[in-house]
């Protein structure tokens, strides 16, 4: 992988004609300034993500992976360049519209789960529905369905501290799906989990992608992800080092591992 050419053509999904671009980043740059010192977290990123894709983003820590994530998830604004989600320029949105976007369009899954500690599993799942204006009864019903989907409907009244890491992450996935988002952003979803639990989470993600057509973008160090993704993306020093379809890299898997 070390001798990858810097300007290789971007690999696109096979059936590109039938698919729509859901996220597009154009010249995206993020600069952090601390006093005199200027750090480029992202230098210049151009990328297009299509609906229904499962993309894995890889890269060493400090490569700008998380920053890339926050930008395309409308959690942070780029210093330069633009991000379009569903052809809407994120920079043009008001605070209320951003909240709307985060609430219904995108589901977030974090490495450290980030469940609200004082809420039960069900309350955690129904909170985004409440923000989205769903009535409590309806929200409870849908929340139970989602917990059922991740296999936790019998633990709906437990609080996060009473659950294992894998269970918490499954609640987090159910919460991310609360308002039927079209995009699922996962930041190292399996990093804090053991091998077996990680497999379960991966299976859930894969199922969501295949059965519901949810676009999944997943930052990870976990090589198991490669087996279920459509495309892989490597980020290094704030630039996209390489994007490749799975079948393109499968032959190289041996050398990666």
């Amino acid at each position: 992988m070390t001798d990858t050419p810097a300007h290789m053509p971007l690999s696109e999904p096979e059936d590109v004609v039938s698919r729509r671009v859901i996220i597009r980043a154009v010249g995206m740059q993020k600069v952090y300034q601390r006093g005199e010192e200027i750090t480029y977290a992202l230098r210049s990123i151009d990328v297009e993500v299509y609906t229904g894709e499962f993309i894995v983003v890889m890269g060493p820590s400090g490569s700008g992976k998380s920053t890339f994530f926050n930008m395309i998830g409308a959690l942070d604004s780029p210093s330069k360049g633009r991000v379009f989600i569903d052809e809407v320029d994120v920079a043009q949105l008001t605070a209320e519209e951003l909240a709307f976007l985060r609430c219904r369009k995108i589901g977030y899954i974090f490495q450290s789960y980030n469940l609200i500690q004082y809420m039960t599993a069900l309350e955690n799942v129904t909170t985004p529905m409440a923000f989205g204006g769903v009535m409590p009864d309806e929200a409870r019903k849908r929340g139970m369905d989602l917990l059922d989907l991740v296999g936790l409907s019998d633990r709906w009244f437990h609080r996060p501290i009473e659950m294992s890491g894998g269970q918490q992450q499954r609640v987090a996935i159910a919460r991310a799906l609360a308002n039927q988002p079209s995009i699922l952003l996962c930041d190292e979803p399996t990093a804090n989990l053991d091998h077996h639990t990680g497999d379960e989470i991966l299976a859930i993600l894969q199922r969501l992608n295949k059965e519901r057509g949810v676009t999944v973008i997943c930052a990870t160090h976990d090589h198991r992800m490669m087996n279920i993704c459509d495309r892989l993306m490597w980020i290094r020093d704030g630039n996209i080092e390489r994007i490749a379809r799975r079948d393109e890299v499968e032959v190289e898997v041996g050398s990666i591992e």
Partner: protein, 490 residues
């Protein structure tokens, strides 16, 4: 693939926000103990000050008459010995309500008509205002304005041209000093002072004559002894001299004097060897350890009093007509009088300021509130800062800034409510106990329940408001951050 147009996020109903905030508080209450503890301490301090001051004031109000009674004999001895000061005369004329017994007394002694006295009242009232004004000035300013004179002498000095010139020029320089009435009016008053001064002299002459008359009647007998007969011939003498002494006052005066005599008698018995030894044997201590308070405590019970009078009889001491009942009563009244003295001393500052607790106490409470506000602000800042991750998560889930601020404000107010409740209770118990120890029986007859309830509600309210205000800035900052920035800070 469905496609959603981006719209404005709907706002949550306030009921729902409150529900979410309450869930959070219920879970976090124990973790928020530091914040609550700070609020408890702060509000306990406020409540303590309020309760103590309110109790003191209530006690002061209820015992004022009793304290007056305590000094009745002293007052009469003074009245029958020297004429009143000019200031006292002016003050009493100024506040007299017609028909006034004081007016009648003055009129009888000096031969002035009541109408003449009434005519003097407005001028006397004005004089009292000026006297208050000069009294409240600090010494340096007073010295600059009128030189080294005090009270009504000030008016005399201002009548001289030099005195007035010094006063009016210096007053013009002092921007913060305000006369209670316009300067022209004061000048007119000074010009007319001679008239008032002459009036005072007439009053004092009349008083002097009356006092002489009384003294001629009693000869060399001390006034206090003569007062034993205040309801009899001596009372007639006093009345004849012009003093206003109604029979009721005379009766209590006699009682008071007799009690003083008897008290002196009992206090004298400690120097009698036989009595001292008998008491020592009774209490099983050395005769040298017998003290007067011990004897007073002892004779508060009727049996002991009877025994004590028996001891006096054995030692051939004159019992001054004491019966066990009266001795017991005197001992009890003595204890009560001591309490009253404590109350008088403790309640000197009562009045004015917030809830009438006195200006000094109000300031103390205010300054302590400032200090506590800083403490609460710090605790709230910590509690909001440590929850940046939670705030960021909520924003990822689509929460609006206003929602986050509202939740935090409600939480802070609820913490303030809990802290305020605890503090009010703690402060009340502390102050109540202290006051109960100080005032004992005086406390219960005057306990200001309603005012203390108001003070408690005030403390709780202040706690809630302080906590909410302290949470405004940190939660505003947290709510405005982009979600990922908030997470990074943690």
């Amino acid at each position: 693939m469905k496609r959603i147009d981006v719209q404005n996020q709907p706002k949550l109903s306030s009921g729902r926000i409150f529900q979410i905030a309450v869930t959070g508080v219920k879970y976090r209450l124990f973790r928020a103990m530091v914040t609550v503890a700070v609020i408890v301490v702060a509000m306990a301090f406020l409540m303590n000050i309020l309760t103590e001051s309110l109790i003191k004031r209530a006690v002061a109000d209820s015992v004022r008459e009793q304290i007056e009674d305590l000094h009745r004999v002293d007052r009469w001895i003074a009245r029958l010995s020297i004429p009143q000061s000019a200031e006292d005369i002016l003050t009493q004329i100024a506040k007299a309500e017609w028909p006034s017994s004081y007016g009648e007394e003055i009129s009888a002694m000096s031969g002035m008509s009541m109408d003449a006295l009434k005519a003097m009242q407005p001028q006397a009232q004005e004089a009292v205002q000026y006297l208050r004004f000069f009294e409240n000035l600090d010494y340096g300013r007073l010295r600059v304005l009128v030189g080294p004179v005090e009270s009504t002498r000030i008016f005399e000095r201002l009548q001289t041209e030099r005195g007035w010139h010094q006063f009016s020029t210096s007053l013009a320089d002092m921007r913060t000093v305000r006369l209670p009435l316009p300067l022209e009016q004061f000048q007119a008053f000074i010009e007319g002072w001679d008239q008032l001064d002459a009036f005072i002299d007439v009053v004092r002459e009349g008083q002097t004559r009356a006092i002489e008359q009384v003294h001629e009647a009693i000869g060399d007998q001390p006034v206090v002894e003569a007062l034993q007969d205040a309801d009899g011939a001596f009372g007639q003498t006093i009345r004849a001299a012009g003093f206003a002494l109604d029979p009721e006052e005379a009766a209590s005066l006699v009682q008071e004097v007799r009690r003083m005599e008897q008290t002196l008698l009992i206090e004298g018995t400690i120097n009698i060897h036989g009595v001292r030894q008998a008491v020592a044997a009774e209490r099983d201590i050395l005769p040298g350890d017998v003290t007067m308070p011990m004897i007073w405590r002892m004779v508060r019970s009727r049996d002991r009093a009877e025994w004590f009078l028996g001891v006096l009889q054995e030692n051939q001491v004159d019992q001054g007509g004491l019966t066990p009942e009266t001795l017991t009563m005197i001992a009890r009244q003595r204890a009560h009088a001591r309490l009253l003295a404590v109350a008088e001393q403790q309640t000197m500052e009562a009045g004015g300021g917030l809830m009438n607790i006195g200006t000094r106490m109000t300031w103390l409470a205010f300054v302590s509130m400032l200090v506590c506000a800083v403490g609460i602000a710090n605790a709230m800042l910590m509690s909001v800062t440590e929850r940046f991750r939670e705030i960021a998560t909520l924003k990822c889930l689509g929460a609006l800034d206003a929602f986050i601020m509202t939740v935090f404000l409600i939480e802070a107010a609820l913490l303030g409510l809990v802290g305020g409740l605890g503090g009010a209770l703690a402060g009340f118990i502390l102050a109540g106990t202290r006051m109960a120890v100080t005032f004992r029986s005086l406390l219960w007859q005057a306990f200001p329940w309603n005012e203390i309830l108001v003070a408690g509600l005030l403390s709780i309210g202040v706690g809630m408001v302080l906590a909410a205000i302290s949470a405004v800035y940190p939660s505003f900052r947290a709510a405005r951050l982009a979600p990922m920035e908030a997470m990074r800070i943690e």
